[in-house]
């Protein structure tokens, strides 16, 4: 089994829309939890990960310039991450298809985590 990082990306406007009404937010959340629990039940969930605040700072360049960001208008702000275990990248991609983020127009970036014991 190999490990893969899921990076959840979504525009802020889409996130607000997915939140919509309290009822819709609750249903959305329940779909997320159902999906996570299913990953867990099948033994694919290595680390549930953490959600990230939408604000922060970006430090960049040799000058180490600090700017506010990432900006909320950014098209695909990273909203959080999860680590899963899968046979290969194909299976990791397949498992990500159940993620409710797609309903709101977001994306999941699937990245293999490098093996350290080669």
């Amino acid at each position: 089994m190999s490990q893969f990082l899921y990076l959840y990306r979504m525009a802020d406007a889409a996130r607000q829309e997915a939140m919509g009404t309290p009822e819709r937010a609750q249903q959305n959340m329940q779909r997320w939890m159902a999906w996570m629990n299913e990953l867990d039940r099948q033994g694919h969930l290595k680390d549930r990960g953490q959600p990230l605040e939408r604000t922060g700072k970006v430090v960049r360049g040799q000058q180490k310039t600090v700017t506010d960001g990432p900006f909320t208008e950014a098209k695909d702000l990273i909203g959080g991450f999860t680590v899963v275990e899968a046979r290969d990248i194909d299976q990791a991609v397949e498992l990500s298809r159940g993620c409710p983020i797609f309903e709101g127009g977001g994306s999941v970036e699937v990245r293999p985590i490098m093996k350290m014991d080669m």
Partner: protein
């Protein structure tokens, strides 16, 4: 940990009440931003980390922190609730004031004041009901639009109009205000409309409808919890809602089609709701007032306690409709009275009563008037005339459920039923 159904929606109303206490009703937009933000946070954190032990308290604590942040940051630039202006100024009193606003009893009182504010007679009844559903029940514009069969844009406009008026009022209605009695009656009226929308309304979707009924009951019970807002008339309204809601499980058949009162499987009525309704009706009789709600509840009680259509005390029901006609006359009441007369004295008398309804032209677009004519003609053996009436009724149907029901009646014409199957309508307006 499972989340209770509609927790977000329910908590939304409570958070809005607490935050309005702090920020003031003129800052309703800010209040809603903070609530929205709390839900966004809950959504993002819970979906990954799981639901906390006390989800409601978690949401409240996020809202409290946001409120404190906002006040500290903006207290020089913005005015908050005028009642709390002084305590919010000082760090010594700020945190306790915010804490107090989120206490259960404060939230309850603020929800009542909000309810009275939403039912401002300067707003149309449709705006009042939309505001109550949005602010106190946490329904979003798309959901309310769906229940009332209007476009989302029209509903957003309706709600925005109401909120503008609310925000301009500067403060929430005070229950010790001189206008209390008049406003109280507007509140009951709005809750009654809300309940009827759920019970008879134009929306075909069963789940939404029973939620509307549930919310109307919850808010009416909130009135009864308050010493100022408890009254025999409110108890009668609550009784009426419980007794009607008891029939909801039997109101749609397995296929989701309307199942009229006379055909319902009475074992599916909710016995607990019936018992609560009867107890409320008893209590409501303690005062000297006999309101339209009392009489409507009494009619529902006669139905609720009858084991079958044949064992129903139709004489009592006709008498009660006579009283209702005296207190709150309307063509719909006349229609229901005529149906009851048809049950008591036979279809010919029912038809005569239908044709004698004053202002019956107001019923000409109401499908169940034509349907009642059809049922009674059918019971007289006039199948062709009955078919014409049912066809008229079907063209007037306001939604698919009504259309399916009436078309089925036309198809079933060859099988004369043992009794009338018209749907008695609990409302008093077309």
């Amino acid at each position: 940990m499972e989340l209770s159904e509609h927790l977000f929606r329910r908590e939304s109303g409570r958070l809005v009440a607490a935050l309005t206490r702090i920020f003031g009703v003129h800052n309703l937009v800010l209040v809603e931003d903070v609530v929205q933000d709390a839900f966004c946070r809950a959504l993002e954190v819970w979906k990954v980390r799981g639901i906390p032990d006390n989800p409601a308290a978690w949401l409240m604590s996020v809202a409290k922190h946001r409120a404190l942040d906002i006040i500290r940051r903006e207290r020089t630039a913005r005015t908050f609730a005028p009642e709390l202006a002084r305590v919010l100024e000082s760090e010594w009193t700020l945190a306790p004031a915010v804490e107090e606003a989120f206490a259960g009893s404060t939230i309850r009182d603020e929800q009542l004041r909000m309810m009275f504010s939403c039912c401002d007679p300067r707003l149309s009844e449709e705006v009042q009901v939309a505001l109550v559903l949005n602010i106190l029940c946490g329904f979003g514009a798309p959901e309310i639009a769906g229940a009332f069969l209007v476009s989302r844009a029209a509903m957003e406009k309706r709600i925005a109009r109401g909120k503008k008026a609310l925000a301009a009022s500067k403060r929430l209605f005070d229950l010790s205000d001189a206008e209390f009695a008049a406003r109280f009656s507007a509140v009951r009226r709005a809750l009654y409309l809300l309940f009827n929308e759920g019970y008879h309304g134009s929306s075909a979707e069963g789940a939404v409808r029973s939620e509307l009924c549930g919310e109307a009951i919850r808010l009416t019970m909130l009135l009864l919890e308050s010493p100022q807002a408890r009254s025999p008339e409110t108890e009668a309204l609550a009784a009426l809602m419980h007794l009607h809601a008891a029939r909801l499980p039997a109101r749609l058949d397995a296929a989701g089609d309307l199942n009229p009162l006379l055909d319902q499987d009475r074992s599916r009525w909710d016995a607990q709701l019936v018992a609560q309704g009867l107890a409320l009706l008893d209590r409501s009789a303690e005062g000297p007032v006999v309101s339209a709600f009392h009489v409507e509840a009494a009619i529902a009680a006669v139905h609720a306690t009858a084991c079958s259509v044949d064992e129903t005390n139709w004489t009592a029901i006709v008498d009660l409709y006579d009283r209702l006609m005296a207190i709150a006359p309307s063509p719909i009441v006349g229609l229901n009275r005529a149906i009851a007369i048809g049950q008591r004295d036979g279809p010919k008398c029912g038809l005569a009563a239908l044709r004698a309804i004053a202002d019956r032209e107001r019923l000409q677009h109401y499908p169940f008037y034509a349907a009642a004519l059809g049922e009674l003609e059918l019971r007289c053996g006039n199948v062709t005339t009955a078919r014409d009436h049912f066809s008229t009724a079907a063209t007037l149907a306001r939604n698919d459920a009504e259309r399916r029901f009436l078309e089925k009646r036309i198809r079933d014409l060859t099988l004369p039923p043992h009794s009338s199957r018209i749907q008695p309508q609990g409302g008093t307006r077309p």
